[in-house]
Each structure stands twice: as C-alpha cells, then as structure tokens.
Amino acid sequence: MLITVKFHTALKRYCPQNDGMLQFQYIEGLTVKKLLEQLNLNNGAVGLVLVNGKIASREIQLMRGDYVEIFPIFGGG
C-alpha cells in the first residue's frame, strides 16, 4: 500500500508533481520526521502535518495507506 502526501499552498514547489500530490511505497519504520527529510523538507518550511486529518507530531510512525498533508509554517500575519 502506498503513502499519499499532499503539499499545501507554498509547499507545492517542493513537490515533484505539479498538482502537489505524491505517492510512494511504504517503508518500514518511516516517521513523519524521516518523511520530511526524504522530501528535503527538514528546512523549517513545514509548520503543520496532518495524518489522516489528525495533527501529527514529527515522531509519529506512518502506516500503510496513510494520507499525509503538509502545510507551510505560519505566524505573525
């Protein structure tokens, strides 16, 4: 089963696909943190990560079929 990642707004530029959606093979032991590293997104650009609609910490282990959404960091209007 694949993992799906949706890149929101300003993060779309980091997605290899134009539509901001990316699917890839599940890897054993994959955490949110490792996922962001793989996507070259451990650069402070990401604020919020939702996994299946729920707020996820960077330490959370991903599972097969997970739907991951990443949002740019925001603060200060």
Partner: protein, 631 residues
C-alpha cells in the same frame, strides 16, 4: 556628519501654527535609534499624566527607523505614536510603504505634532522646509481622492501622502493612517488622533539621499537578499502567497478564528484562502521601498455587482480572517471589497471585523435585536450586512455610531453581560492568532504595551525544534534552545522577553518583520553589518538589544503615567477554554494559573514592579533613563 539619521526633528504646533526644528546630538540617536525610541522620548517629555487622547495636548509623532530611507533591504517602516483613543495606553503602530523613506530624504528623522488646528489642514514638507496648508476642501473625501488632490495641488506626482480618511475625521476609535493608499499604521486608532487635531495629511517630498557611511556593504546585503529571496522558504512563500497563506494553514490547525472565535475551523476556508485570491483577483505583487520580497497583494475586481480599485492594494491575512471567517463570511469578492472600503474610509480591518463579529454574537445571543441594529439581520455569515455596516461605522450613523467606539464601548452600551463575548486586551480587539496553540503569543497579547498586538515579540512556531529557522537564526542572542509552542515555563517567558527587545530594535531601525528573521530571511549578523555600515558606528547586538529594552521600559513608564496597572495585562477568558471544531477540537485552552505566573515572571525578568507596573528605578538607571525617575 550624520550618517543614517538626518539630525533634524520637525516640531509642529498646530494651535499656534508654529514650526520649529530641533537638532539632537549623535548620542541621542545612539540611545534611541529611531522609530518608537525617538517617538517615546518626545511623548514622555511632552505629555502630562492622564491626558485626553483626543485633546490638543496629545503629542503625535511620526518617526521612521534609523535605516529607513537608505537602500538597506526591507527597511521602509515608520512608527506613529500618541496616546491611543482605543486603549488609553500608548498608541504605537508601524507601516511600511514609501512615506517613511521620503521623510528621511526630505531631511527629517521625525515629525512631532502638538495642539489642534482651528480648521482642517495638512502639513507639506519638502527638502528641509515645512508649511501648514488649508485642507478644508479635502475634508470628507475618501483617501484616494485626497491623495490625488494633494499631488495635483502641489504639482508633483511623487509626493508621498500619509493621511487619514473620513473615519479618522469622525474620530472612529479604530481609524487608521495610510500611506500610498495601501500601507497602514493600522492599529490603536491613531487616525482618530490626527482627526482630533484637524490634521488630514502629511505630504512629503525629499530629493536628497540619506547619507550612508559605507555604501558598498549596504549594496552587498541588498544584492544577497535579492539573490536569496526566491530560494529561502519563508521569503519565497511571502512572495508567492503573501500573508493570506495563513488562512488554510491555520484552518488545518484548528485555529482559524471563526464566528467571533466560537470555532477554530471554518468549513469554507479554502474559498477565502490565498490560492483563490491568486487565481481570481490578484493582478500583481506589490512591495515597499527597497524591498525585494514583494509580499504585498494588489487585487482588482471589475464585475457588474462589485468593483475594486487596485490602487488600494489588497487584503492581508488579518483582513481576510477578521472580515471573513470571523464573521462567518466566505464570499472572497465581498471581503476584498470590504477591505477596499476600509482603505477608502481609513479603518483598521482587525478592530472593525472584531467589533462587527462581537455585534453579530450579541445579536445571535439575543442581547440586541433589530431595533438596535437599524433593522439589519446580524447573523453570522449574512453577507448583506458587511458593506452597510462599514459605511455606518465610518460615518457614525445609527448602530455604526455605537460600534465606532470599539467593541469594549459597545459592550458597555449593550449591557446584559455582553462583555463575556469580548475578545480584547486593554480595549484593543485581538488579531487573528490563537494563543491556545502558541502560549508566547498569549503573553504578547497580555503584555503588549499597546493592547493586544501580534508583533510585540516573535511567534512560537519558529522556535520549536532544532530545525526551526528561528532557533538557527537567533542562537547568537541566546535563543538557540527549542521551546515547545505550548510551554509556559521560564523558558517561554525568557523567549518572549528577548524577542520583545528584538522586535523593539526592528521597529527602531525601521526594518520589516517580514524581511528579517525569524519570520523571513535576512539574518541578524547581516542586520548588524547594515547598522554599522549605515551609521559608521562600531556596535554590537548587545548595544542594539539594550536599545530595544530601553524602548520597552519607556513605553511601560508612559503607560503607568496614563494610569495603567499590572491588572490590565490579562487575556480574554475565551483563551482559557478548550478549542472548538477542526483538528484541535476539545484540546484544552491555556492554564490560567500558569499563564498569570508567567506574566508575573516576565515583569520580574524585565525589571518591572508588579505593584506599581513601572520599570524599577535600578532598571531605569541601567538603561540610561534616569531622567524618567520621579522622586
């Protein structure tokens, strides 16, 4: 020879129709730098205790930052200061744009206005000269017409105009000041102070470059920023999406103010988000003087039902949330029009949106009915009422006259315990950021000298992990340790304290929070290089942060002299209750006891006395503010 500053302060007495120039020493600039440092110096020197904010005795200062007017990148800002008619505390509000640089090029570091003109006037400043001119023929006109009229009258299209709109003339307590029609000293109702002085505008034209000691360093930093702007994740996002990007990010995080903050989730948030804005209404990205980031939105609508003129710029995140989700409104075109209308009349979109949403809440709770709303059906989400309400408030008609004094005054009029639906601190409505997801922001709201303010210090999310851009950028000033967004320990207090000094320095230098760390790209060492290159001083972050601390101590002392106490540093009760809706539904609010313990600790760390609310004598000595010590 003065570098960076011009060495001249313009003093204008509108009652006596008198104009003087003061020339402070270089030491003065080194102490107070510029912006709010210089402004507070004059406020504290001139103002007696407990003055009427709308009386002639209220001193009003316009002060660009120390770097403003040079080609240092993203440093266009100037601060307007006076006693605020909305809060009764210090009024202090920054704007970017083009006016601040022009004033410096015209040869002045600040304009200090006192008194009240007997009839409407505007001030005309050109290359070291100033005159008071009649503005009777501009009174009552919208900002666009007045800017055009002044430029025509003076025969120069390049005149920069800082002005109020009709709302400021009518003394709406959250009236703002704009420059170039699209940049705002938005908060604290300083437009009403101008209105009370019969001062419609300050028009400025300067043709002399601000002297800089070492131009090559400044050029080099500007080149670096221009090169990096599209690479750095934060500045690239600011260019592409601007602040409206926050709508969908905050909504996903369950913290987008919705229906007067009853919810943190707005089902139709995407409809008012940055992608829709770009797709349907954005015609270009605008900027401020010497800023390669271009985070400003310029929108246009030419439809049958609604037209929006691009010269009024476009909405920021704050306006989209305050007038949109916060009022339950998801019609982006209407919100854009409402934003434009605010800019024509000169109204702060945050206080306006929050005062309207408060009235909506009171209406839905049965506290007010149609007999008090001029027949308007004030349900959340009712698109029909938004534009009529703005007109009514700007013109002080009917319900608009009640709302024009802000939400706290409206609650006093509505009675029936309506104050429990208020979201304000010191009388100023809170901006669109929820302290329940970032505790330091809550401390900012409570402690800010000018009422709920979201730029009193830096925001927590930029400092939560080793990878955080803020942690990496600010380790040299003692902020290299990550602190959890919801932490309320001494670590968070220290963080807010240090970054309140940092933001104070930013304001004093005139640099934009969207140009520099942690919210953007330009790092602290480059900023220090800029200060040294511009002024020719050998300085350090130690000296600069001390200046930031000095500004804060002055502001605190000013507030005490206007009657504010420790007990005003509080938060609305809402923030101690759980979040509702969206991904954080049911998560607890701030812990009240821990929060107020942290507020107290902030006082102690800052060297402020809890019982009197003022900076301790020793602190004033340390900061070279002994002239403020009263025996």
């Amino acid at each position: 020879m003065a570098y960076g500053f011009t060495g001249k302060i313009l003093l204008v007495d509108l009652t006596k129709s008198e104009i003087l120039v003061e020339m402070p020493s270089e030491e003065f600039y080194r102490q107070y730098l510029g912006g709010p440092g210089i402004g507070l110096y004059y406020l504290l020197k001139n103002n007696k205790r407990y003055i009427d904010p709308l009386g002639p005795e209220n001193t009003l200062v316009f002060a660009p930052g120390l770097l403003t007017g040079t080609s240092a990148p993203s440093a266009p800002r100037y601060t307007v200061l006076a006693k605020s008619p909305l809060t009764g505390a210090l009024g202090k509000s920054e704007a970017g744009g083009w006016w601040g640089p022009e004033l410096k090029r015209a040869g002045f570091d600040a304009v200090v206005v006192r008194g009240r003109a007997p009839r409407p006037v505007y001030l005309w400043i050109k290359d070291g000269e100033a005159e008071i001119r009649d503005a009777s023929h501009f009174w009552g006109l919208q900002t666009g017409e007045v800017q055009e009229g002044i430029r025509r009258e003076l025969g120069d299209e390049r005149v920069q105009v800082a002005q109020i709109g009709p709302a400021g003339e009518k003394l709406v307590r959250f009236a703002n000041i704009c420059n170039n029609l699209a940049h705002f000293n938005g908060r604290n109702g300083l437009g009403a102070v101008m209105g009370s002085k019969n001062l419609r505008a300050i028009a400025v034209r300067g043709t002399k470059a601000v002297e800089v000691k070492d131009r090559s360093v400044v050029k080099e930093v500007l080149r670096w920023v221009t090169e990096q702007v599209n690479i750095h994740p934060l500045s690239a996002a600011l260019y592409e999406h601007g602040t409206p990007i926050g709508i969908t990010s905050n909504n996903a995080g369950g913290c987008l103010p919705t229906n007067n903050w009853d919810y943190g989730y707005f089902a139709r948030a995407e409809d008012i988000g940055s992608e829709e804005l770009i797709k349907n209404y954005l015609i270009r990205r605008g900027n401020c003087f010497a800023c390669p980031i271009r985070c400003k939105r310029v929108v246009e609508v030419k439809d049958k039902d609604i037209t929006v003129d691009s010269k009024y710029g476009g909405p920021e995140y704050e306006a989209l949330a305050a007038l949109g989700s916060n009022c339950g409104i998801s019609n982006l075109k209407l919100i854009i029009k409402a934003n434009e209308l605010c800019n024509r009349y000169g109204l702060d979109t945050i206080s306006l949106g929050m005062t309207i949403s408060f009235a909506m809440k009171c209406y839905e709770e049965g506290i007010i009915d149609k007999t008090q709303t001029d027949g308007l059906d004030l349900r959340f989400g009712n698109e029909e009422v938004l534009l009529p309400l703005i007109e009514k408030i700007a013109n002080r008609e009917g319900l608009g006259n009640v709302l024009a004094d802000g939400s706290r005054a409206a609650a006093a009029r509505f009675g029936k315990r309506s104050e429990k639906y208020l979201l304000e601190v010191k009388g100023q409505e809170v901006p669109m950021h929820d302290p329940r997801v970032k505790s330091g922001l809550g401390l900012q709201f409570a402690l800010a000298v000018n009422g709920a303010d979201h730029w009193f210090a830096q925001h927590d999310p930029f400092f939560t992990s080793r990878e955080s851009l803020g942690v990496q950028a600010a380790s040299t000033i003692g902020l290299g340790e990550p602190v959890d967004a919801n932490d309320l320990s001494f670590k968070k207090v220290r963080h807010v304290l240090y970054t309140s000094y940092l933001n104070g320095v930013y304001d004093m230098l005139g640099v934009c929070v969207f140009g520099y760390v942690a919210r953007s790209l330009t790092p602290l060492d480059k900023l220090l290089n800029l200060v040294e290159a511009v002024t020719g001083w050998k300085t350090s972050w130690w000296e600069l942060l001390k200046a930031g601390e000095r500004f804060l101590a002055m502001a605190k002392e000013y507030n005490v002299r206007q009657g504010l106490t420790f007990s005003e540093d509080r938060l609305p009760e809402k923030f101690f209750t759980p979040l509702k809706g969206g991904s954080r539904d049911g998560e607890p609010g701030l812990d009240r006891d821990k929060f107020y313990e942290a507020v107290r600790l902030f006082y102690e760390m800052a060297g402020w006395e809890v019982d009197t609310g003022r900076p301790a004598k020793a602190k004033l000595y340390e900061l070279g503010l002994d002239w403020l010590i009263e025996i």
